[in-house]
Assembly symmetry: C2
Homo-oligomer: 342 residues x 2
């Protein structure tokens, strides 16, 4: 059991001061190339690892970013977490997670906890309708382009437009949009997009699963059969989880997908490609979003002078929205022509 190597140990073995060792390792200051190399070699050999606490205390930076999510159990979380962890670790930062547990108070608490832990900056995926305030550190917000203070996010409206246009092209003129929450900005943007993409001539109906759950008391049927009877040929959901509900409900009721009715989702979650039929959905380039958000945040941390801010005080990325991509699988197809309908 050797003592954990510190700068002083290294300094002693070379009979130099710790300052020289520090310079050798950091590459700053003036030091003879030869000695510097020898110190670096030795450091690697004995497995020297700088103390993050010592460094943090001196430099005032911890090298850690906070990631605050509305609810970790949201199935979108893995995608975002992975993208951000990747982007952060590439840039030499660690990621501390904070769960809002579905409430605004939880969100505030999570933010406080992370602040107390000394994060250098924060990435927040806000709970709908919450304002993040009292942050004295750089903050990147990931929500939707139309959210005030949004740093970068998928262009949900664009995604909606693409999905709507795709369905229109397949001949769908009567579409049911199934959203979850009426208070989510993301969902609102998607709704708008889908409507626009479908065009003026299309007949569009809209339901919210949250409302159904409230009336119904539990997670029951969406009652899709009625809509199909009324002539709906496509069910455009705004999340893959809803798409899954719709798809299984329809399949269980004997409606063939996509022959009788098309079903589409959003977000390309893990199961979209595993089910039969494969789910046509809209994918966000999470890796890119994570990269941009982290890049902007890190820039704001390391070069506060050069970094731009939004009016809300959040950091500004090079672009504030990244386009979504249509992933066509087998759950969507041409609309059943009107005359062959029962």
């Amino acid at each position: 059991m050797k003592p954990k190597p510190k700068l002083t140990l290294l300094a002693e073995t070379f009979n130099v001061s710790v300052a020289t060792v520090s310079n050798a390792l950091s590459g700053k200051g003036r030091i003879s190339p030869d000695l510097a190399q020898r110190i670096r070699d030795k450091a690697r050999e004995i497995g020297y690892v700088p103390s993050s606490a010592g460094r943090a205390l001196r430099t005032g930076r911890s090298g850690v970013l906070g990631l605050v999510l509305p609810d970790i159990s949201n199935p979108l979380f893995p995608q975002i977490a992975q993208a951000i962890e990747q982007a952060a670790s590439t840039r030499g930062y660690g990621v501390l997670i904070g769960d809002a547990r579905g409430s605004s108070e939880g969100q505030s608490e999570a933010i406080s906890r992370l602040m107390e832990r000394g994060v250098d900056g924060m990435l927040v995926i806000p709970r709908r309708g919450t304002r993040v305030t009292d942050i004295r550190r750089p903050l990147a917000m990931i929500d939707s382009p139309s959210t005030p203070g949004n740093t970068v996010s998928a262009d949900h409206r664009d995604g909606g437009v693409k999905m709507g246009a795709y369905l229109a092209e397949l001949g769908h003129r009567h579409v049911l949009i199934v959203a979850m929450s009426s208070r989510s900005i993301v969902q609102a943007d998607r709704i708008e997009g889908v409507k626009q993409g479908l065009g003026e001539r299309a007949r569009v109906e809209l339901i919210f699963t949250d409302d159904i759950a409230e009336q119904d008391g539990s997670v029951g049927s969406l009652g899709l059969a009625d809509y199909i009877a009324r002539g709906v040929t496509a069910v455009a959901t705004l999340s893959d989880l809803t798409a899954l509900r719709a798809l299984t409900e329809l399949q269980g009721a004997g409606f063939s997908v996509p022959d009788r009715v098309s079903v589409t989702g959003f977000d390309d979650l893990i199961w979209s490609s595993a089910i039969t039929p494969g789910l046509t959905t809209m994918r966000a380039d999470m890796a890119e979003i994570g990269r941009l958000a982290v890049e902007a945040l890190v820039k704001s941390i390391e070069r506060p002078d050069q970094a731009e801010r939004t009016e809300s005080g959040t950091v500004k990325a090079k672009v504030d929205r990244v386009p979504m991509a249509l992933v066509i699988r087998s759950s969507s197809g041409e609309a059943r022509s009107a005359e062959t309908q029962p």
Copy 2:
């Protein structure tokens, strides 16, 4: 813009030394109750937050745990992450995430990164067949009771037994088990359990989706129709994702679930309750597992003398396995009697 409050600021306003302030806030040392209270009030008023770097440097502890996962994109991740974040923050610890990105090298790198960040201990969900080594800090491992060094985990074998027994009780005598990887200890334990639960008399077939993917080249059909033709009345998958594949494949092929064939899953992932029919599955008490793992880890950090270790050096929890619970929904039902089969 006031300067960030430190101990010295507090000390100055009360004309006492920083030591006194520190004592007042920590409750240690000797200090007059009155002054202590006044200091605490003032500290709250001006929003004093101790510097984690200063404290970490002095005490040698960061108050942060590392969480290493084989692959964040695994849909099981949200459950675990949420449970652990909750348990950790209850005990005053933060959670730093590390993604192994599916490889053993990635796992080693993730562990190194977290070590360099100065975590006090680590929670590792190991990639199958990897040994975690060279950790000079308390380590909790979450995998399966039969994994050497396992700290605590769901009792996967027990879950299998319960599922098998349940199916047997429903009259299923010919069951297809669909596993994913043949190299996963967790899955092996579940397989064993299901077989035992079904009993000697049952006829059991077993396939691995990884093998199919290799032969097939892509994520294709599981070919379940053949098995049903051969008399299989229940498909017991070892993960909800596989269950979803099976369920949709069967529904799409016109087999009624559960009338014609029962389908069961494992893990009670988010969609199990959203689909139609609701998926009968096996749930692990993640909150409890997280609690136990964090408790054991924290104990080992804060009272190294009292903490027990396994032979592998990992920390030992009060119990090393927590039972799984059968969640009966609508995807399972009585076996179709042999005579009514085609």
